[in-house]
Assembly symmetry: C2
Homo-oligomer: 209 residues x 2
């Protein structure tokens, strides 16, 4: 089922719900009311009910939500069951840190390969993933298409690499480069991690606590 007209704010809250419910599940909680869930997350109960109503009927008046079922359902809405394929491009410190520590599988992604231009890292293995020469990426993606590429290349190379990946069929770019990327292909999705937005938010709060 494709969903349309669901606001960005609601979409952004879904992973937070998923995280919170996974945590509750791990602690053995069986059910929770929208009020209690809201308290934990700093969201009103009515906001939660409204958010969930975008996706169907969950929970029951006076009973609350079954934690495990709701968690699984939100996981499915997020596409965790899709087992999408992903490649990582740019194995500098940040790329290396992601390969080493980020739980891609828990997010529903399997990492096919990593690519870099530097002979110093090409041929090495990080956490079971082989680092290949960037010159092999065309052949690789034709053989083993990927839905998503993690972009951890230098900012100056970002748009060029993105264009190349998109021409090879990649439809999602997880962009750590701090470059504002674009594509004429309307179906391509860019998800940017802006570290500086986060630090500036912290800076604001320190001055207004």
């Amino acid at each position: 089922m494709k969903r349309e007209n669901i606001s960005d704010a609601v979409v952004r809250r879904l992973p937070r719900y998923y995280r919170q419910l996974s945590e509750l599940c791990a602690h053995g909680a069986e059910r929770i009311s929208s009020h209690a869930l809201g308290r934990e997350m700093g969201i009103t109960a009515s906001q939660i009910r409204q958010d969930f109503s975008c996706f169907g009927e969950f929970g029951q008046q006076g009973y609350g939500y079954r934690v495990k079922e709701l968690c699984e359902e939100i996981g499915r809405i997020l596409g965790l069951d899709k087992n999408r394929r992903l490649v990582l491009v740019g194995v500098g410190h940040l790329g290396h840190a992601l390969l080493q520590n980020f739980p891609f599988a828990k997010c529903g992604f399997s990492v096919g390969a990593a690519f870099d231009v530097s002979p110093a890292v090409v041929g090495s293995r990080v956490n079971g993933v082989t680092v290949r020469d960037m010159r092999e990426i065309d052949a690789y993606l034709k053989e083993s298409p990927a839905d998503v590429a993690v972009l951890t290349v230098p900012q100056s190379a970002a748009q060029g690499v993105a264009d190349r990946l998109i021409s090879l069929g990649v439809r999602g770019l997880w962009n750590f480069t701090n470059a504002e990327l674009s594509s004429p292909e309307p179906e391509v999705i860019f998800e940017d991690i802006h570290f500086s937005d986060s630090l500036l938010t912290l800076s604001y709060r320190l001055g207004n606590a």
Copy 2:
């Protein structure tokens, strides 16, 4: 001036405004209407006017905003002029990447020092910052207090290190550990970077584009 009752959503948009206006400024734009700014950012003009009205009077009916002045004013609101001091704790791949590439100075922070427990990195310098032994952190922070600590330690060490930093006067924790941290001190501010929330948002969008 301390500001209260400004919603989280408004605060989170401030760095985005700052980024957009800096970009416009760099491209030589002198003024911009709320409509044009909104179009660039995917926000309505009335939302922009409402957001800015939380902080005072900017812009002029029928004239728009002076880009440079507005950018500087938002920079001040964000605390860019405070030149806050920061330390980084945990010089693994991610910590190293941040020291090497993140523009702390542009965000109004100066990096005093970095700390790690590993003899392999203690004593090295990364981008002009000396990596010190974690055992020296108490003495260091008593001598040179820091407002913020970047937390790039392993998840299992996160809460312990956070508690120690807070006891040494750190009031802002920029948390990359994916641990949910807390403190009994009400004035301590945690700003979490949740990589997985971002990847799950991308996953959702791929399934609903």
